[in-house]
């Protein structure tokens, strides 16, 4: 089976800064991949290039069979990027819920505005997904009234209601108070066990160890190690991976 996400020789520059250095990564369907690395290693940038929130400078990204060349200048490219975004769902560190909409309105916004889905049908789907993340009881609240953990669960429901084939998580628990991290991780675990393909940028080593099929380590814009979690955490090959794991251990993560 061909991979659902295929990144080939991706480069990204921020001005003169070379933040991704010819990165290649294949993710098969239903796999959960955790991207780890120090801050500034390029892991978030790589994730954000997958749905073109960040424009890659060079290389090819293929998601669900839709192939986009970073250097393509044609008019069709915009449509391809749009299709990639419909194939992916994204969850942000800062939740980014729409503050002027209720929880339910947040969740149906995508299907109704972007896909042109019937409102009643979107509501039904949204309620299912809110139920799944345990947030249906707050459907008519505004995001301001929710805790960080609740906001992030709603954000996950919002992304899932677009029925993506791949979910991208950009440090989904980094902005949360420690006691709220668990509820978000358990929702993510549930999504993973339902068979969703997930790429997760995270510092939660416990989650990576328990849920991930694969852990990919980045350093200075390159992938330096790529292995199953038990293998990676017990026998890291690269000294930088070892250093990273030691650091997480000393922080008690």
């Amino acid at each position: 089976m061909p991979p659902i996400v295929k990144i080939t020789n991706l480069d990204k520059y921020f001005g003169r800064l070379h933040v991704l250095k010819s990165v290649s990564l294949d993710v098969p369907e239903r796999q959960v991949v955790c991207l780890i690395g120090r801050s500034g290693s390029g892991k978030s940038t790589l994730l954000r290039c997958i749905n073109f929130l960040e424009e890659p400078s060079r290389g090819i990204i293929e998601v669900g069979g839709i192939q986009v060349d970073a250097e393509d200048k044609s008019k069709e490219r915009r449509q391809l990027v749009h299709n990639v975004r419909l194939t992916t769902g994204m969850v942000f560190q800062e939740f980014n819920l729409f503050p002027h909409m209720t929880v339910l309105e947040n969740v149906i916004e995508g299907p109704v505005t972007v896909k042109g889905m019937e409102r009643s049908q979107a509501i039904e789907l949204a309620r299912q997904n809110l139920e799944n993340v345990g947030m249906l009881f707050k459907a008519d609240e505004y995001p301001l009234r929710l805790s960080g953990g609740q906001k992030q669960r709603v954000a996950i429901a919002r992304a899932l209601t677009m029925q993506p084939r791949v979910m991208l998580f950009d440090e989904p628990t980094s902005a949360l108070d420690p006691e709220l991290i668990g509820e978000v991780l358990s929702v993510m675990k549930k999504v993973a066990y339902e068979g969703m393909t997930m790429i997760v940028v995270t510092h939660e080593m416990g989650f990576a160890r328990e849920v991930a099929d694969r852990v990919v380590v980045m350093s200075e814009g390159k992938l330096i190690e790529d292995a199953a979690p038990e293998e990676l955490f017990s026998h890291p090959k690269d000294p930088r991976t070892q250093a990273l794991i030691d650091r997480y251990r000393s922080e008690g993560a």
Binding site: N96, T113, R158
Partner: protein, 280 residues
């Protein structure tokens, strides 16, 4: 024992809170009384009283009451025109301000240039000149506009330039994350603007726009200079000059402007608290 301690500490907090409330109440009461005194002094100054202190005779200003009674209604009829000009102008100004703000934030050079050029030109010239430009200068080019249309165009253009800053601040207040979330859902730039950015930006811009509307009601007095718009100021000047009772006429107009401002400020305050309550 522990119970009484707890009880005492809450009642202490309650005491502090009550004291704070009392201080606030006393402050407000003092301000109210002072306003009333200032108001009475103002009335006294215009009451036409005469009284003697030793060798000196003092007289406060006396107003021609029969003139006031006769012309009050005539001047009051200008309120409608004043509010009409202000409302039309603010609608025009808001439209212009929105486009100017979008242009100012645009990465497309011509849009950016048009926006900054417009704002610079309008802010660099007097409002009074702009009103006359539309009313007196355009006819030379064969474009004859009524006083009302000239006034609305000039006020709208003028306020639009200033209000574009408000809109720009509103648009910039919407975080980058909001746009990214919309894009990640697959929204087009147009959908992102309409569904996500604008509703939040407008909410941010409503209180300052209320202020602009209130100052517009007063700047609309300048339109009277065209001589063809029968709003408050025009009416006051007309009857004041005709009967040489400018003092009375202008005082009447001033009272109307002031009352209007007080009422609009009150309404705006209500809107603001309503928005703050729903702050979401």
């Amino acid at each position: 024992m522990a119970l009484t301690e707890k009880h005492e500490s809450t009642s202490h907090a309650e005491q502090l809170y009550q004291a704070q409330l009392r201080r606030d109440r006393i402050f407000r009461a003092n301000v109210g009384v002072s306003w009333a005194v200032l108001f009475l002094i103002l009335i006294f100054l215009f009451s036409g009283q005469k009284f003697e202190l030793g060798d000196f005779t003092f007289k406060t200003i006396s107003l021609n009451t029969s003139f006031i009674v006769k012309n009050l209604w005539f001047i009051a009829q200008g309120l409608g025109q004043t509010l009409l000009i202000s409302s039309l102008s603010i609608l025009f100004a808001m439209t212009l301000a929105l486009f100017a703000a979008l242009g100012r934030l645009s990465a497309f050079p011509p849009f950016y240039a048009v926006s900054t050029f417009y704002v610079s030109l309008i802010r660099g010239t007097p409002l009074y000149l702009q009103i006359f430009f539309f009313f007196l200068a355009l006819p030379q080019l064969g474009i004859v506009l009524s006083g009302l249309v000239s006034g609305v165009l000039a006020l709208g253009l003028n306020y639009g330039a200033y209000m574009s800053e408000t809109f720009r601040a509103g648009l910039s207040s919407v975080g980058k994350g909001q746009r990214e979330a919309a894009m990640a859902l697959g929204m087009t730039p147009g959908q992102t603007m309409r569904r996500v950015v604008l509703p939040q930006a407008l909410r941010f811009a409503i209180p300052p726009m209320g202020n602009d509307f209130i100052s517009m009601t007063k700047d609309s007095a300048l339109v009277s200079a065209t001589g063809f718009v029968h709003e408050l100021m025009w009416r006051a000047v007309k009857v004041g000059r005709a009967q040489f009772n400018n003092l009375e006429a202008l005082i009447i107009a001033a009272i109307f402007y002031w009352m209007m401002t007080l009422i609009l400020t009150y309404i705006q305050g209500k809107i603001e608290t309503h928005l703050a309550k729903g702050d979401r």
